[in-house]
């Protein structure tokens, strides 16, 4: 009996990470203009054509904003996010590796994640400056650092608190929240942009 108590006291306190897995449909937020607009350092800069029209990839957090669904698959060392848009994916490494110090600019950036209680905190850097932050054309530079806090409020609801930190584009960081709803009856369908370009 005493041995059992001692054993329990000494056993490592293991808390399982919450499971964010599932197909999620973003709802609501498509534009960050309300929060971002007043903070633009260069509001007069021309918007240009939507870079998505070339069938290059949307960036982050635009892919999270939808409207197309995404699917989260979770393993101990990595969370993978599959996006129906472009049939593309993002790897969020949760094995403790640091963000790269001098990354080659890319469309989706380089993401690492760690658990803060029930919330997965994802940091992403290493973006090129070609994409829009949202469907409304909010710009950004290569200095962009996005923090997404994924919190599964209950079985059917995921909140993503998105903080945009880009000192070359905005006066100071700002935060918006996207919500997503579990879509258990669907799978992602293939979406090849070049075939769907109108």
């Amino acid at each position: 009996m005493i041995a059992a108590v001692v054993f329990l006291a000494l056993a490592p306190h293991v808390v399982a990470a919450p499971d964010l897995s599932g197909v999620w449909e973003p709802e609501g937020l498509q534009s960050m203009h309300a929060a971002a607009g007043p903070l633009l350092l260069h509001p007069e800069a021309a918007k240009g054509q939507d870079p998505d029209a070339n069938c290059t990839l949307s960036g982050i957090p635009r892919l999270d904003l939808g409207p197309k669904p995404f699917k989260i698959l979770q393993s101990p060392d990595e969370v993978v996010i599959l996006y129906q848009a472009f049939t593309t994916f993002r790897q969020v490494f949760t094995d403790g590796r640091p963000l790269p110090s001098d990354p080659q600019p890319s469309w989706l950036g380089y993401s690492v994640g760690k658990w803060d209680g029930d919330t997965l905190v994802v940091d992403t850097v290493g973006f090129n400056d070609t994409t829009w932050l949202d469907n409304a054309g909010t710009p950004h530079s290569e200095s962009l650092h996005v923090t997404e806090r994924f919190h599964r409020r209950d079985t059917g609801h995921l909140d993503i608190q998105i903080t945009v930190d880009d000192p070359k584009t905005f006066r100071h960081p700002f935060t918006v929240t996207q919500h997503a709803r579990l879509a258990p009856a669907i799978e992602l369908t293939e979406f090849i942009c070049l075939e769907n370009r109108k």
């Binding site: 069938c55 990839l57 698959l73 393993s75 990595e78 993978v80 599959l82 790897q91 090849i192 075939e195």
Partner: protein, 254 residues
């Protein structure tokens, strides 16, 4: 000849790209005394006792990307007559209409022969393949669901998978006939039922036995074997074809 240059372009990109990526040691890799991954170590196994086929893999050179039938004699490919004519036209046109020229994706089963790494990951209900080329993914559902009855044709098709002994067996239907199975242009149609058997021989080597059962294009099923090798201590790069597709207007061919 054109096919060779197209395929070379893939290989060139892979060579350059690996020099730029942040290397990160592969967890749990068996290592030799000098710290390098031991590619001859035995096949790792999962908790369920099956072979662990996860990891980053790469085709051994251009061979199967140029021709999926590279190991067969020409008369061993059982073309239907119209398919033989189409294949001949594609070769004479120097692969002018290869969808890859316009940044359309490789489909099943060409995708694993593309000379860019792909990452196999295992989850409870699916095996997932992440492809560096086009930064695109393929889901292989392992939750026991049947193949769909009348799927909308797609480049990847619809795949389900299960274990048979030490083979991970993937069945795919619903592949669009726009897919070329290689840069030579072996055709495939929406009638195809492709079976891929993944068998990992040891830590660094795997066979993928591919059976193409497409009665519209071929008179009987035919089988080839590809042999990717493992890449350890690295990660996938992002690769966006449309970013750099400046030469579409220079495509030659009749």
């Amino acid at each position: 000849m054109k096919s060779f240059f197209v395929a070379c372009a893939f290989l060139f990109f892979v060579t350059i790209a690996h020099g730029q990526w942040l290397n990160y040691p592969t967890k749990n890799a068996p290592r030799t005394k000098d710290g390098k991954p031991d590619m001859s170590a035995p096949t790792p196994r999962t908790k369920d006792g099956e072979p662990d086929i996860t990891g980053i893999w790469l085709a051994n050179g251009l061979k199967y990307l140029i021709s999926i039938a590279a190991d067969l004699k020409p008369d061993e490919v059982p073309f239907q007559p119209w398919a033989a004519v189409l294949y001949k036209e594609r070769r004479e046109n120097l692969g002018r209409d290869d969808p890859n020229n316009l940044c359309l994706p490789s489909g099943t089963p060409e995708k694993e022969a593309v000379t860019s790494p792909f990452k196999i990951m295992q989850f409870p209900d699916e095996m997932l393949i992440l492809y560096e080329s086009r930064t695109i993914y393929r889901q292989i559902f392992t939750d026991g669901r049947p193949l769909p009855k009348d799927p909308t044709p797609t480049w990847q098709g619809y795949s389900i998978g299960r274990w048979e002994g030490d083979d991970f067996v993937v069945e795919t239907i619903g592949i669009t006939s726009k897919v070329w199975m290689d840069t030579n242009g072996h055709p495939i149609t929406e009638a195809a039922h492709v079976t891929e058997r993944f068998r990992r021989h040891d830590y660094g080597h795997m066979d993928i036995q591919i059976t193409i059962d497409d009665p519209k294009a071929y008179t009987k099923p035919w089988t080839i074997v590809e042999n990717p090798h493992l890449l350890a201590d690295t990660e996938l790069l992002e690769s966006v074809c449309e970013e750099n597709n400046k030469d579409a207007r220079h495509i030659v061919g009749k």
